[in-house]
């Protein structure tokens, strides 16, 4: 659905809501707090019929308003008329786009529009969809069966505390009796957390849509918190500024991974063996994946390193572990990296190391940097290549 239709509908609904809305008993339901009148709603973006996007922001006192995002180089100035600032982009390709407004030099978030937190700040975003099956469509909430997303806590013996993990079970899981499902573990990068693959990675939407289209097998997703300094996402506590991924004296997240697998296998109907397990992560989580996949042999048949930090086997002991993995067999070793990623050379170097020992891998190179755009692409692609 084009957002322009939605915005128009919202304006009409809002007009009706504040003018006429009545409660079950007949008396008017007033808004609970000051809400903008419909004509005051200049928020978010309007997606135009040609998939160009018009940003709107009302602020009569501002002197300069700018917009930036992955859809443009640098930033652009909005133009003001009657206190409302607007800017229209070129037509955009299907994708989920973050954007940022800057008012007189200070970054802001549009209060009335969709927000999501990428380290370390909240940002607005929108999705462009042109047709069924395109990238925006795969990242969107469509009229297809939806999996269940649960936030659970497990007792960590490694860290001696309770830790939070997010689990996606595919549509039909609850009604499928004793059927067992494969599990795809998704790990996050530095300063992200167990919510990141859901909030920014659109993992639930990607799987809902790919499963509905018959392109991915129904599978369980497990999204862990890879920061030993945290028991859960800071946002769950009410803190937002993300802290570091390690604290002195704490165990390594990688050391705790077997207890996570045990927890999942004990609590879900899983195919609890190598052929039923995949693991992938980006950045720090790619490094975790690199380590976990080689240090716990015969645990995963599918491994994904997305813009991985720390994948390097110049150390002979590490090289031997990869040689052992080759001997044991792994069905897919997926490596993805953006050409503008600051780790691009590091990733290419690792590929070269793998070439030298004849270790087979699948390499996906995309445009883009060390950002969610490429990682969503890699998840969308890898999810179609596993458990088949």
């Amino acid at each position: 659905m084009k957002r322009i239709i939605l915005i128009t509908a919202l304006a009409l609904i809002a007009a009706g809501a504040y003018a006429q809305q009545v409660g079950p008993g007949g008396q008017p339901l007033r808004p609970r707090q000051a809400a903008p009148a419909p004509q005051e709603v200049f928020t978010g973006v309007v997606i135009n019929p040609d998939n160009s996007v018009t940003f709107r922001y009302k602020n009569p006192k501002a002197v300069k308003v700018e917009v930036s995002g992955e859809f443009m180089q640098g930033s652009a100035e909005l133009k003001e008329a009657d206190g409302v600032w607007t800017y229209t982009t070129e037509p955009l390709a299907p994708e989920l786009y973050f954007y940022s407004l800057t008012v007189d030099g200070s970054p802001i978030v549009d209060l009335y529009y969709s927000v999501v937190k990428d380290i370390p700040r909240w940002m607005n975003y929108f999705i462009i969809t042109k047709e069924k099956g395109d990238r925006g469509d795969i990242y969107g909430v469509n009229d297809v069966p939806h999996g269940t997303v649960a936030s659970r806590w497990y007792d960590s013996k490694t860290f001696g505390n309770r830790r939070r993990v997010n689990i996606y079970t595919p549509p039909g899981y609850e009604q499928s009796g004793k059927k067992k499902y494969p599990v795809f573990y998704l790990l996050h990068g530095n300063a992200c957390d167990e919510n990141s693959w859901l909030d920014l990675g659109r993992a639930a939407q990607i799987l809902d849509n790919l499963i509905a289209q018959g392109k991915a097998e129904p599978m369980i997703l497990v999204m862990t918190n890879g920061n030993p300094a945290q028991q859960a996402a800071p946002a769950y506590y009410g803190d937002t500024y993300t802290n570091g991924n390690t604290l002195p004296g704490k165990a390594n997240f990688v050391d705790s991974f077997p207890e996570i697998i045990s927890f999942i296998d004990a609590n879900y109907r899983t195919i609890a063996k190598k052929e039923g397990r995949a693991i992938a992560g980006f950045s720090m989580g790619g490094g975790h994946t690199f380590t976990i996949s080689k240090d716990y042999p015969n645990t995963f048949d599918y491994v994904g390193l997305y813009s991985a930090a720390g994948s390097n086997i110049s150390d002979p002991a590490q090289k031997q572990k990869i040689l052992d993995m080759k001997k044991n067999g792994v069905k897919l070793y997926y490596i993805g990296c953006g050409t503008e990623d600051f780790l691009h050379n590091s990733v290419l170097n690792y590929n070269k190391q793998l070439d030298e020992i004849g270790f087979e891998y699948f390499y996906r190179e995309t445009p883009g940097g060390h950002t969610w755009g490429p990682w969503r692409i890699y998840l969308s692609e890898m999810a179609q290549m596993i458990f088949k």
Copy 2:
């Protein structure tokens, strides 16, 4: 934990993170995007030892910065030094507080701090806790066993579509074999959705804490979406401006309630009878609760009307339903309202109607208006009074 300690710790961690952090393979992990250097982190609030709160906001170009919130009358101006604006409140009582910053007349949200959406906009918030068991403590994430929160979708025959519902199962639910649990249905007000009781009502934290303290029985919470125009919270789609709760030609949410109860009873180990069911809601959801509890007799033993819209039995047919409820028996009919609530007179009028027919109810009057402060209090109190 006092936030001042946390902020200090974060600054130290951040300093270390950007200077020294290394990946599993030894190479430095650079931040993925421009992040503020530690000395630039002037965000959110510092909770001082006396529970006064210092707001901080960096913006060298602003002319006037104001703060407002439930902790003060009106608003206060922050003072600027070296581009950082600050204001310190009086000592505050334990509570969860929203706050809003206004920069040169435009409301903003602190990008680097905790945010939550109340209709229709995103806001920052913080929690004051003085001692174990106080209101702030009950609303916080503490070191106690945590329930599981799942977002599921059910097929609605009433609306002919898929609808999202959030379900809290108490700590130990998954390990308790065939044990059955009572269910507390929580309904929301106009322009809120199935996320509101979790995000703003702190329902999971309240139950986690009360159960851990032995003050509430372990119970399942079911948080529905009461807006027929929605299948799920707008934020789940990426839309944020909330739309109305009704659309022409759509069925009434109240009509769909039996299918929700059936879904829950079919999918969870519930005490599937009157004595195992409670229902409560605020504002429009209080009106829904008023209607559902009387129109589906012998379904709920515990009923909560929080700042309820539309509770009125001047119509003889409605009065008869309440008389029938009296005859059938109801263990708790909880009515809560703030003295500054715009529905206060309407609620008092309903109480008078109940008095006239000798219908027993529990009335909790608190300071406060038509806001989350009173509703969290009513949930916290009612949760301790039911299923015992």
